[in-house]
Assembly symmetry: C2
Homo-oligomer: 333 residues x 2
């Protein structure tokens, strides 16, 4: 735990601490020779100027905190990759933390990055308003929400996706394949205003296209054990196609359907949110509503960078969802 300090550097270089400080600041009078001696001493000791002290001089530490719910979800892995890649290109190092869809874990990450003096943060926020979020906002550091917003914190710019275009096209494709009834599995809506909005938009659009009595929504309790019974119940009700608002549910469903002899695209049609690589590996390939995650990430990073250089108040941005038809939507038998 032996950090070389500015005093160690001064001692080794045989100069005063204030001389080392002048060499670091490249301010004040200091001879080229002395500067070289100090630099040599720093190199020898592996001295790294404290980012705190640097931050006080330059107002920059070059680090950004990025919080995502779960990097095992390929959608969030892609989002985090895109953001850290764009920030690295702009000279920032990204510290990624995960909340495991748990507000306490989010708040713990926020407190950690606050005590480390970062330059700002990009968050996929978890749950509602919190003391830690308020502290972060109170710092007046650049802060951007991506994928989700937080009710009551309307001054923070949000970059997320608009579910309407993709859902509209998916419902049209399902109708064109002869389905008269459509189902929807919502995912963990309690954790995410985005999933709540998606379900709401689905209900509105599907009721218009199919009639209210022909729309079936399963918004809770979709787990390994209930998955097959939910799909069987929907089929018995005459549902020809199911849209999954939360891609991990779709992954689980496709896997269990295979094991239970339910044929995707023949016995029941499937559409999922998020254009995950694995949906192009299954047989048949799965039709998806893409959120264009790389655009969300790129715009999120750019919004953050605009705030850093102080291009005034950054605005929120919605990226259009797009529908990608594949083989998992078939003709009703």
């Amino acid at each position: 735990m032996a950090y070389a300090t500015i005093r160690d550097v001064a001692r080794l270089a045989g100069v005063s601490v204030s001389t080392v400080s002048r060499a670091l600041n490249t301010k004040g009078r200091i001879s080229e020779h002395t500067k070289l001696v100090v630099e040599q001493a720093m190199k020898e000791l592996g001295y790294i100027p404290d980012s705190r002290a640097q931050a006080m001089r330059s107002s920059k530490t070059g680090t950004v905190g990025l919080l995502v719910p779960d990097i095992r979800n390929p959608y969030f892995a892609d989002l985090a990759y895109t953001i850290q890649d764009a920030l690295f290109g702009a000279g920032y190092c990204t510290f990624i933390g995960t909340s495991s869809e748990n507000a306490d874990q989010q708040d713990s990450f926020i407190m950690s990055i606050l005590s480390q003096r970062i330059d700002g943060a990009i968050l996929v926020p978890q749950g509602g308003d919190s003391h830690a979020l308020r502290l972060l906002i109170g710092r007046k550091l650049p802060l951007v929400f991506v994928d989700r917003q937080v009710e009551g914190l309307d001054t923070i710019p949000v970059v997320d996706s608009d579910p309407i275009p993709g859902l509209t096209e998916a419902l049209e494709d399902i109708r064109a394949h002869g389905c008269s009834k459509v189902g929807y599995v919502s995912g963990p809506v309690l954790e995410s205003p985005t999933l709540q909005e998606r379900e709401y938009v689905f209900r509105e659009l599907a009721a218009m296209a199919f009639g209210e009595d022909h729309v079936f929504v399963e918004s809770t309790g979709f787990d390994q054990s209930s998955c097959v019974s939910v799909l069987r119940r929907m089929r018995r009700a005459g549902v020809g196609a199911v849209i999954f608002g939360y891609s991990p549910d779709a992954v689980r469903a496709v896997s269990l359907m295979h094991d239970n002899g339910i044929r995707v695209g023949l016995d029941i049609s499937i559409v999922s949110f998020d254009d995950l690589e694995m949906f192009r590996l299954t047989s048949p390939h799965i039709s998806v509503i893409s959120q264009q995650v790389r655009r969300i990430g790129a715009i999120g990073a750019q919004t953050f960078l605009d705030m850093v250089v102080g291009h005034g108040a950054a605005g929120s941005h919605r990226v259009e969802t797009t529908y990608i038809p594949r083989e998992s939507v078939g003709r009703m038998r």
Copy 2:
């Protein structure tokens, strides 16, 4: 960028800076009333004790740097998740960085965490020895390598997997299905000593089991365009089964085989390293050599925690690979 300082707290509480310091340290004489007044002032100002100052008192900041090559690779996402989950349980916040399989990006992450004064680091190291790695080691902080080692840095404990058991069983299964020739696709071996060792072990074991002339290795240039031609070339040579040392190659191959009418398990058998979820979604399911990534992560985190509390020198650990047979290894036609 207005951080509340200990001076702001003292001013608001109407006490001296040293009184605030005593309240923070819970050392020295201080009345309950004064303590409450100070705490109230801290709360009002959103004051967070500087982790640097705390670190100097307690030698702990409660943060760990974790570097992985690419979180879009589900193997590394799983590894990072397991490690940060175990560390969170032990009271640590994990800052995850990615190297994008690029030594410069790794070194930039290391310099960032060094200037932030973290308690230690867990790295999937990138490439060889480097100045940044030497600085990190010079700090004498707890440091663990997972998944890979670095030549010449033999004092750092390494937690990785032993390819021999899984490869041995996979080759036995392939032989039992009537294959007389076997192929191997190595992945980006230049970036990873682990992939180099895997290829070496395959060559040795396969030559023993099939004879040297019946073993085909493709160790470079496996990309989207070459994938199908590599597989066709191997089939023409009479290869009945291909083992993929690097799972992203297998994912790409399965997807392209589907699109090119090459039937997995019928036209050619497939085994991949890493038990990824998507290998259980494909039809047929893919046989895998599991590295038991969660065990690697758990042991990596535990090795780190043992070093933190100073249980002497931590040792390296190899986790056995296991073979999971599925439908992608079929009888040669």
